[in-house]
Symmetry: C2
Subunit: 126 residues, 2 copies
């Protein structure tokens, strides 16, 4: 069950994803909004936005969950499967805009995938 009421927290969190076009971790958001919202609220709102197909999530390397905006997903179908890149220097994480071709795997049914790349981003590659 997703978002039912457009609360202050829903609006502000969504705005954050609109303003920046990169992935944000749960900790990012908890820090940014710590004066305004409880971390419980952050976790719950992110959960609901994912249920609604507005955001998608992936596990970062050290056990932290990241979220990014979906393109063209709905509540029932997450079709936006693409790699994510996390910079090991500055920590910034964003979606890469190429698709991974997953070959048909015999005798298995794939319903979810996540692909995480790590290294150094443009700003840190000096």
């Amino acid at each position: 069950m997703g978002i039912i009421r457009k609360t202050k927290s829903v609006k502000k969190i969504l705005n954050e994803f609109q303003v920046e076009s990169k992935a944000l971790s749960t900790l990012d958001l908890i820090h940014r909004f710590e004066a305004e919202f409880n971390k419980t609220t952050i976790y719950r709102v992110l959960d609901k936005l994912e249920d609604d197909g507005v955001l998608h999530s992936f596990q970062g390397k050290n056990g932290v969950k990241w979220y990014a905006k979906c393109e063209d997903c709905t509540e029932h179908k997450h079709s936006d499967i693409h790699p994510h890149f996390q910079c090991l220097s500055c920590g910034q994480t964003d979606c890469l805009d190429f698709s991974i071709h997953i070959p048909k795997i015999p005798n298995r049914e794939v319903s979810f995938s996540q692909f995480l790349l790590q290294g150094r981003c443009e700003k840190c590659l000096v």
Copy 2:
């Protein structure tokens, strides 16, 4: 810094990865050896085996860390980058034996990747 002494725990954990050719989670191993070794030991030994390039690790979906045997890796070079598949029914997780072609990403340096697929395995696809 990796393994220096061939202790009982090192031998038994390595044997577990020899016997089964699939990935094992930290929790799998903690449960299997709970009568014999402390979970601290399990975590430490896995860490050291990864340092040595004997095992590689990846994050499962729900924050649990998984390990699998490496092929041809050493302490200094992890060259064994391949997808992992986790069954959402039985939980079994193993390495898939195809490579993913990562296109050259402009202005970034990739030093690590992990690719997790989830769905249903052969046994659970009925």
